[in-house]
Point group: C2
């Protein structure tokens, strides 16, 4: 694939931050002759039209996928099965059907227990994003230096997996194929728990009656501010993540609370050695994250890319 | 005070990130004729000498404060009382004695129960910092647009409070006078709990036997990365914070765990409405933090300042 409009038609369903960024990247890198965008929200469709990031806007889900070579479902993870079921009969034989949901077990279970014969189903998860929601915040550079995890169904052909991998590679991502259960456990630690904790601490600060909001804002540079970024992420998307990755999140959350109780006990009993030892262990990983090119936030990264 | 070297001598004890930034700002804004720096760690003293950010380096704590108009104690909060006690007899009549500890109750209790007559004791806390430690990472702009909280002792003269406030104002900070118990509660929420949570989640990721460190690093862009910044803060400083703000931290931690248990229960029982409602409530505060000029991290802020 030489970015020479290899494909005739690609459909993107759900035009939020991720879906709209995929539309932009598909056009930027000339992956296909036609990008069709569908969203059930008319307001979003209007914005996408104004932004001019697709070739055709569709208000009809089934029509939007007819003759498409590839269909990206970029809706909140809870609605992926119902969207897939609805479009199934309109998807052409041999097409690639993929998604971008942050949970893969529930999506794969759905595809396993439903017959999608003749369609190359490749559930996937680009580990990228910002705290912003909606099509106006998307940008084609969002996936650069990020990982995209594939959890392909057995029936997906090697050729189809290679084709999809090439697209993500052109977008700037690295692709890894993984078992969906392992994906969900790893992401529970690296993404889902961090979001839950952030929502919780920001919510707590709102609730404490002895502290004014203005105090929280003024002194947020002490650490609190770091949590507000991910606590301003899309509520619907994250509701769906927790409902669909329930088992792994509850397992990891249990361990988190256990460990937190040990820290609480050390504070109560003034065990400085225990605290110091725990705090020393956590310094190194940040350097490793930066060395691995995973250090910058979306907009910082974008600015850096634009500077070069 | 017109930045015209109003003072003859100012001593800074403890030359880490905060102490060394104070030294730089004192010189940059020409607050005093002479800045004297003391640290018990010879390696740090050597670095400070190389950096040329003080006029005189002292290896003798008591000597360093003789004839000083102002003494800043910038050591970890647990050692502030012992440092204050040791220098007490060498501090000149009428001098200002201040500190930069992140906990104020324990420091104020010490000063209340010890006789510092004739010295203007003004415990303080500049709510500023980065995750880096040591004198090479300090910079004079660190305090710009940040808040510095004073919890002055009764005996401190109005003049001395005004003088210290003017210095922090020249550094770019805004000053607020506060009761030490309220300070410790507000900071428990906005700073101490966020740090504890970050240390805990980063430690947890290290410990899970089914997940490789390389997985955590690769997929850290999903949210985890945000926590590694504050989890790489100075372990000794933070050990001391938790030991010295034990009561407020345990109170806030108790509420945090309660709220987290409610979220856990909602996930277990698949109560999507509850989750969505909670997640929606937390979006707005981030915008307010940015509007209040508290949005940028240390280095981002520095870059922005340098650009202008």
């Amino acid at each position: 694939m030489k970015n020479n409009k290899t494909f005739d038609k690609i459909t993107v369903i759900g035009l939020g931050l991720i879906g709209s960024s995929i539309c932009r990247a598909l056009r930027k890198y000339e992956i296909t002759k036609k990008v069709v965008g569908y969203d059930k929200d008319l307001d979003i469709l209007r914005k996408v039209k104004d932004l001019n990031i697709v070739d055709l806007i569709s208000q009809n889900l089934n029509e939007s996928v007819i003759d498409s070579d590839i269909i990206f479902i970029c809706t909140p993870v809870g609605s992926i099965p119902s969207v897939a079921k609805e479009i199934q009969s309109s998807v052409k034989w041999g097409a690639i059907l993929t998604d971008t949901g942050s949970v893969k077990g529930s999506v794969c279970d759905f595809f396993k227990s439903n017959n999608f014969d003749g369609i190359n189903v490749i559930p996937s998860h680009p580990v990228a994003g910002t705290e912003k929601s909606g099509p106006i915040f998307g940008f084609h550079e969002l996936f650069i230096d990020r990982w995209c995890i594939f959890t392909p169904m057995k029936n997906a052909s090697e050729q189809s997996i290679n084709d999809l991998e090439k697209i993500w590679t052109v977008f700037g991502s690295k692709v890894e194929i993984m078992d969906s259960a392992h994906h969900d456990l790893v992401l529970a630690v690296t993404s889902h728990l961090p979001h839950l904790i952030s929502y919780n601490i920001v919510g707590l600060a709102n609730d404490i009656e002895k502290i004014k909001e203005s105090d929280v804002i003024k002194y947020s540079a002490g650490g609190f501010r770091d949590f507000t970024r991910i606590a301003s992420s899309n509520p619907i998307m994250w509701r769906d993540v927790f409902l669909n990755n329930k088992d792994a999140v509850i397992e990891i959350l249990g361990r988190f609370i256990e460990d937190l109780s040990a820290l609480q006990k050390a504070i109560r009993w003034e065990d400085g050695d225990f605290l110091e030892k725990k705090f020393k262990n956590t310094r190194e990983i940040r350097n490793k994250i930066f060395s691995a090119g995973q250090g910058e936030f979306g907009e910082e990264k974008l600015n850096k890319i634009k500077e070069n």
